[in-house]
C-alpha cells in the first residue's frame, strides 16, 4: 500500500512550509513535494503606489534580509531615473550588502544548521537545537552571535538602524560616510575575520564526516546562475549574469541583468505558492538551476581577496572535478563567502574615495521600466518595475533567491528521502534529514511567497488512497 509522508512545519527555516512524501507499495519514496502554503501578494498591492516607496515597502517583505530588497529595489529605481550612481555611493552600498551577507550567513550556519552539523541528524530532537549547541559548543554559539552582531552593527552604522535602514535611496545613498564611522567599522573587522577564519578551519575538520550526507543532500546535476564581475570573479552587488552547467561549461556570460527575462522563465504548480523559475533555453523543468553561495562560488573564477581565494581553492577540492554538485556544501560556501565579505569590506573602507561627499545622483524618473538585480545572501534577487508617467507603479515582478532554488529543493527532498526514509519504520532522524536538506538552501519563504509571519512545517504520511496515516508537526 503506497503512503504519503508530510513534514510540516519545516523547522529552522524562514517561512511556512510542508513536505509531502509519497511512498509506493514497498514503502519507498516515489515522489516528494515542497509546498509553500502562504500567500502575500506583495507584487499586487504595490501597484498604484509611487515608485519611490518601493525600497521601503519591499524591504518589509522580510525582517531578515531587508537590505537585499532595499538594494535591489533601489537599483531598479536607479534604472527608472536612468542615472549612474557616484562611485562612492556604489561602494557604500556594497559595504552594506556585504555586512548583510555576513549577518545572514552567520545566522544560517551558527544557529540554524549547526545543531545538525554538531549534534548529528539522529540526536534527540529535544536537544538538537541551538540550546544543545550552546551546551556542547558554547564558544562557537557566542562567536556566531558576535559575527551576526558585527554585521548588524555595520548596517546600523551606515544606515542608522539595523532592520530597515533608509539610508540607501534611488540614485545612491543619502549621506556620505564620516571618518569616525569608517574607523568604527574598521575596528570591528579584525575580530570578525578571526572568528570567520577559525570557524572555517573548524568546519573543515568536520566535513570528512559528512561524506554520506554530501552524496544524498541534493547532489544534483543542475545549472548554476549568479552575478559575476565583468572579469568573471565573485560578485554580490552588480556585474553581469553567468550561467554554467553541471560540467562547469559556461552557457551564458556577460548577460546584462536587464536581459534576465531571456534567461529565466517562471512556471507555476498547483501544490505551492512558490513559483518555479527555470532556464528558458532548456525549458521547464529541465532548466533547473541553483543560485546562492554554492552557485556563486561555482561560477566565479576567483574571489579576489587573499584568504577567501585560499578557501575557494580548498572548496573546489571537495570534489575531484567539475563544479561542486552537492547542496550540502552550501554550508561550506557560506563560510567562504563570510571570509570574502569581511576582507572586501576592509578593502572598500580603506579606499581613499570612501569619504567622498558625492554619493547621490538626483533625477526624476526618465523611463517607465526599471530592473534591479543584486545577490542576496540566498542568491540572485531581481526587482522589475513598470511605472506610468506620474511615477506610479503599474506592474512589478520579484524573483526571489529562494524561488530560483525551488526546482532544486524539490529534487533534493526526493533524493534525500529516497536515501533515508523507510516508510515501513519511520524514524525522526530520517525526517530530520529531509528537513535538513531544505535548510542547506537557507530558504527565506517569507520572501519567496512574499508571505508574512512565522512559518512552521509538517510531514504527512498518506496511503495509496490518499488517506492521512500520520502527521508530524513542529511550530
Amino acid at each position: 500500500m503506497s503512503r504519503t509522508i508530510t513534514i510540516e512545519p519545516v523547522t529552522r527555516i524562514e517561512g511556512h512550509a510542508r513536505i509531502t512524501l509519497q511512498l509506493d507499495d514497498a514503502g519507498r519514496v516515489a515522489d516528494a513535494k515542497f509546498h509553500l502554503t502562504q500567500f502575500r501578494g506583495f507584487e499586487k498591492f504595490c501597484e498604484g503606489r509611487p515608485y519611490r516607496e518601493m525600497p521601503a515597502l519591499t524591504a518589509r517583505t522580510c525582517g531578515i534580509c531587508p537590505v537585499s530588497h532595499l538594494l535591489a529595489s533601489n537599483k531598479a529605481c536607479d534604472d527608472l531615473l536612468s542615472v549612474a550612481i557616484p562611485p562612492t555611493g556604489e561602494k557604500l552600498r556594497r559595504i552594506m550588502n556585504l555586512a548583510q551577507l555576513v549577518q545572514s550567513h552567520a545566522l544560517s550556519f551558527f544557529h540554524l544548521s549547526s545543531p545538525d552539523l554538531l549534534l548529528g541528524w539522529d540526536a534527540d530532537p529535544v536537544s538538537r537545537n541551538i540550546f544543545g549547541v550552546m551546551q556542547s559548543h558554547p564558544e562557537l554559539a557566542r562567536r556566531g552571535i558576535r559575527l551576526r552582531q558585527i554585521g548588524q552593527q555595520i548596517i546600523e552604522t551606515l544606515g542608522g538602524k539595523k532592520i530597515h535602514p533608509t539610508w540607501v535611496v534611488p540614485g545612491g545613498v543619502n549621506e556620505p560616510l564620516t571618518a569616525f564611522k569608517r574607523d568604527q567599522m574598521l575596528t570591528l573587522l579584525p575580530e570578525a575575520l578571526e572568528i570567520a577564519k577559525e570557524t572555517y578551519a573548524f568546519y573543515k575538520t568536520l566535513v570528512p564526516r559528512f561524506q554520506q550526507e554530501a552524496s544524498h543532500f541534493g547532489d544534483l546535476s543542475t545549472l548554476f546562475l549568479s552575478l559575476v564581475t565583468p572579469d568573471g570573479d565573485l560578485e554580490h552587488y552588480d556585474g553581469v549574469l553567468r550561467v554554467t552547467d553541471a560540467q562547469g561549461r559556461i552557457l551564458e556570460d556577460k548577460v546584462p541583468p536587464s536581459d534576465y527575462q531571456r534567461l529565466i522563465g517562471e512556471a507555476v504548480e498547483d501544490f505551492t505558492y512558490m513559483k518555479f523559475p527555470y532556464y528558458k533555453p532548456h525549458g521547464y523543468p529541465r532548466g533547473m538551476y541553483r543560485v546562492g553561495p554554492l552557485a556563486r562560488l561555482n561560477n566565479a573564477e576567483a574571489c579576489g581577496t587573499p584568504f577567501a581565494d585560499v578557501a575557494l581553492a580548498e572548496f573546489r577540492m571537495l570534489q575531484e572535478s567539475g563544479p561542486i554538485s552537492s547542496s550540502f556544501h552550501y554550508h561550506y560556501a557560506r563560510l567562504v563567502e563570510i571570509i570574502f565579505a569581511i576582507e572586501m569590506m576592509k578593502r572598500l573602507l580603506k579606499d581613499p574615495q570612501i569619504l567622498d561627499h558625492r554619493v547621490r545622483a538626483r533625477a526624476r524618473s526618465n523611463q517607465n521600466e526599471g530592473i534591479g538585480v543584486a545577490e542576496a545572501p540566498r542568491g540572485t534577487l531581481i526587482h522589475h518595475y513598470q511605472i506610468d508617467d506620474d511615477g506610479l507603479m503599474t506592474w512589478m515582478n520579484l524573483i526571489i533567491a529562494t524561488g530560483h532554488n525551488n526546482l532544486a529543493m524539490n529534487a533534493s527532498i526526493q533524493q534525500v528521502a529516497a536515501a533515508y526514509v523507510d516508510g515501513t519504520k519511520l524514524a525522526e532522524g530520517m525526517l530530520n534529514r529531509v528537513e535538513a536538506v531544505i535548510r542547506c538552501y537557507d530558504p527565506c519563504l517569507s520572501c519567496a511567497s512574499h508571505a508574512f509571519g512565522q512559518m512552521p512545517l509538517s510531514i504527512e504520511l498518506r496511503d495509496a488512497a490518499g488517506r492521512l496515516v500520520a502527521t508530524q508537526r513542529r511550530d
Binding site: I130, F131, A141, R142, Q149, Q152, K161, R474
Partner: protein, 169 residues
C-alpha cells in the same frame, strides 16, 4: 562584546518590536520611537526593532532590566498588560529567525550565564492588516498608558522597587 564573561552595569534596555506595516503590530516600534523622542534617563537604551533577533542577546546580558513592548495577538485591545518574563527555551527555539522575548532571555542566559529582570508591556492589537504605522483606535488610545507603564517600570527599577504587574485603563 566577545566571548569573555559579561560585565553587567546598572543599565536598562527598552525594546519595542513589531512590523511597522502590519497595523497594530507597529505598536512596539512606535512606542520605542516616542520614548526616544520624549527622552529617557541616561542609563536607559531604547531600540525599535522589526523582530527580536539573536544578536540582541549580548546587549540584554549587559543590563539589569529589559522591557519589551509588543502588540499581543489575543486579549482585549486597549487593556494594558505588564507581565514579568522568565527565560523559557521552548520548541520555538528551532525557528530562530524570530524569537519570543522569553526565548531570547533563554538564549541570553545560555550564552552569557545571566538574564536580567524582564517585563513585557503590551496590549492586544485589534487589526494586523497592511497599513503604515497606523494604530487602531483602542490601541492608539492606550499609548499614553503604555508609556506611563514603561516609565513606571523604569522609575521602579531606579528606586529598587518594581510596581504591580497588571493595570487597566
Amino acid at each position: 562584546m566577545d566571548g569573555s564573561p559579561v560585565v553587567r552595569v546598572r543599565r536598562a534596555l527598552v525594546i519595542g518590536y513589531g512590523s511597522p506595516i502590519r497595523g497594530d503590530d507597529a505598536l512596539g516600534p512606535l512606542l520605542a520611537e516616542r520614548l526616544r523622542r520624549d527622552g529617557v534617563p541616561a542609563w536607559v537604551d531604547v531600540h525599535a526593532r522589526h523582530i527580536l533577533t539573536p544578536d540582541l542577546a549580548p546587549e540584554i546580558a549587559a543590563v539589569e532590566l529589559v522591557i519589551f513592548i509588543d502588540a499581543a495577538e489575543q486579549g482585549t485591545p486597549g487593556e494594558i498588560l505588564c507581565q514579568p518574563l522568565e527565560p523559557r527555551p521552548g520548541p520555538a527555539a528551532t525557528l530562530v529567525h524570530f524569537l519570543d522575548p522569553r526565548e531570547l532571555l533563554a538564549w541570553t542566559r545560555a550564552l552569557y550565564g545571566c538574564a536580567p529582570r524582564a517585563y513585557l508591556v503590551s496590549t492586544a492589537g485589534q487589526q494586523f492588516a497592511f497599513s503604515h504605522a497606523e494604530l487602531s483606535p483602542p490601541v492608539a488610545a492606550a499609548v499614553e498608558a503604555l508609556i506611563r507603564n514603561v516609565r513606571s517600570l523604569l522609575d521602579g527599577y531606579d528606586h529598587a522597587t518594581i510596581p504591580g504587574d497588571r493595570t487597566s485603563i
